[in-house]
Symmetry: C3
Subunit: 267 residues, 3 copies
């Protein structure tokens, strides 16, 4: 039995989510968090990082448009949250694309030890040191086994891992789940993955100790919201998909997720 | 009789609004200003601050994602505008959330002496030094009298004050108005308050000397636009609310505002 | 016969477009590029500029919210792309508005020697050193002959020039085309011109050597997408126009463009 009730619970508890994110997705991430019932706080000013991370319930770090200042802010916010026993989500956007991203991204993960790394297959492949034809910040394509990659990253970095894709793969290195909800339209909305990370962050605040099943339900809810929108869109429509996804995230309930979830535990 | 004609007038005069704002709301603020008939100019490069503020009809300062560079830019733009007799709007986003924001925000207000401070109840409570459970950048909740808080801030800082909420409170410290239009959906759109500040800025350009009634009509128009959108949305739909609000702002006229305004002068 | 097939081809080739852009339009530019079939990469971190420009198929530089750091990033990215024989698009947003923009913008153009400059009439007038009442980042109005201005800029800077407007003017200094598709709603969507630049960039990657006709078809496709949206909107609706434009860009095909194009070669 999965904790479907989290979908309703997050609306009651209204967790404060501290995001260090990028100019491309900041607006959608904030609106998406409001839609699911969380309270977004976007800030990367070094001067207030310790304080913001202290009042927040979770910190979500997104390296979509990484800069030197942001790296410093991420270090402070991430370490502060971890010290206070709060979850930290790390989104390694385009980590395979450049030497700068790879070096700094891996260093940040090693220093902060996030609770969850959420990325696409190309990004997780980079962290797993597996060959993969990533394309900029997009997933790209590869032959490697996504489940094995995810488990390797989870074990190496002692973290939960969620890989977005046609099927999401979610693992703590021991238990592994597939989320089979979703839609092929997601990659056509910039920041769809970034918002997925934010949603996982919000759900991870709902118990005293983070559990992998919280990531499973966050991912199922999010993938299903996209699926329900796509069911009504006969062809790709980037603008309407985005608008309707925010609508669906505003309305989806525990019972809807429970009735439509396609989750499989594979080990 | 209120100056409802401002709603049509701003479309004729097309004032240039200089915004120093944040990565979360920049796009909606620009589109919202275009929708009401103004011309947005977003810039925070120190090198051009004096020049931009000089050609603009009003400067709107938003501390949503404050940084050291932005503070310097705000000082130059704000002081330049004031020196040239142009209105300045200050939006103290999340001013109660961190020491950095509180210190720098209050210092900026003291130095620039804005024409209008527009915030939510939590932000105005911080400026009024009243206890209030603000939550990050959201309004939060408190017991204090919003009207008294607003008047105190108006008198202390010699400025107009507009407090967004279920009822907007607008005061110059002497005259006080309530705007009873609006919708409970506003807090679910990130940057809804920021755009309210921009709209007030645009309307403040329409007379030689700023009058509090300009803020009243800007706030009424904006609140009513949201109300008209919400009337057609049976449940929260974050994406559609945002899209339709921009549509409504493109179309609303003086006569619609006059016919639907619920303004009360309470002192 | 124009290369209408580019509209379908870009969806097959999925070029990687490196954008250095601003906080106002980054999201729409990324979603618009995804919609037409390209892959956006937004980054302005100096540390990775050479590498990003090297893996990208084209670089698009947008000075909408110029800063010192961005200028340095633009220099590296632009020069790297040119050295590798890749096209570079330069969007001189608001170049006439301030001394800083004019100085730095012209210097960047002179140093990078972009393949295409895409701007509105006010911006091209500044580059042509022709008098024009530009208004902030908006086109403004003037009496000068837009075709002559465009040709002058094309010759002076040895570049393609595309001027957005009621009729787009596209020239390499010798051949000149008018694109008569479009809609008067475009100027009410912030970043409409910026996305036009991105689209031109994506289309310029589709042949070994850039040809002016690629810009003509990119501009015709984009203008027609807006026109098709506007045909269904009896009055201005800023939110819906934006959403539906992204939808239309997701769906428009070579055959639709060929059937509806209103292109005129004038010399």
């Amino acid at each position: 039995m999965y904790p479907y009730k989290l979908v309703d619970e997050v609306r009651e508890k209204n967790p404060l989510v501290h995001n260090i994110t990028n100019i491309v997705v900041a607006n959608d991430s904030a609106n998406g968090l409001l839609a699911i019932g969380a309270s977004p706080f976007m800030s990367s000013a070094v001067e207030e990082m310790e304080e913001v991370a202290s009042i927040a319930n979770v910190v979500v770090l997104n390296m979509g448009t990484l800069s030197k200042e942001q790296i410093e802010a991420m270090e402070i916010a991430g370490k502060t949250a971890k010290k206070l026993g709060k979850p930290v989500v790390f989104d390694p956007v385009g980590i395979g694309a450049t030497t700068f991203r790879k070096q700094e991204g891996i260093r940040l993960i090693q220093e902060i030890k996030p609770t969850l790394i959420r990325g696409n297959a190309g990004e997780i492949a980079t962290l797993a040191e597996v060959e993969w034809a990533a394309k900029g910040v997009d997933a790209g394509s590869g032959e490697a086994d996504v489940v094995e990659m995810a488990k390797k990253v989870a074990k190496n970095y002692q973290t939960f891992v969620a890989v977005s894709g046609v099927e999401d793969v979610i693992t703590d290195g021991e238990k592994t789940y597939l989320v089979k909800n979703g839609t092929e339209y997601f990659p056509y909305m910039t920041g769809a993955g970034c918002l997925h990370s934010c949603v996982c962050g919000a759900y991870l605040t709902l118990t005293e100790h983070p559990e992998i099943e919280q990531v499973v339900i966050a991912s199922t809810m999010y993938a299903l919201a996209g699926e329900l929108v796509a069911d009504l869109l006969p062809i790709l429509a980037v603008g309407t998909f985005r608008t309707n996804l925010l609508d669906q995230l505003s309305q989806i309930s525990s019972i809807t997720v429970e009735e439509n979830a396609r989750i499989e535990r594979i080990e």
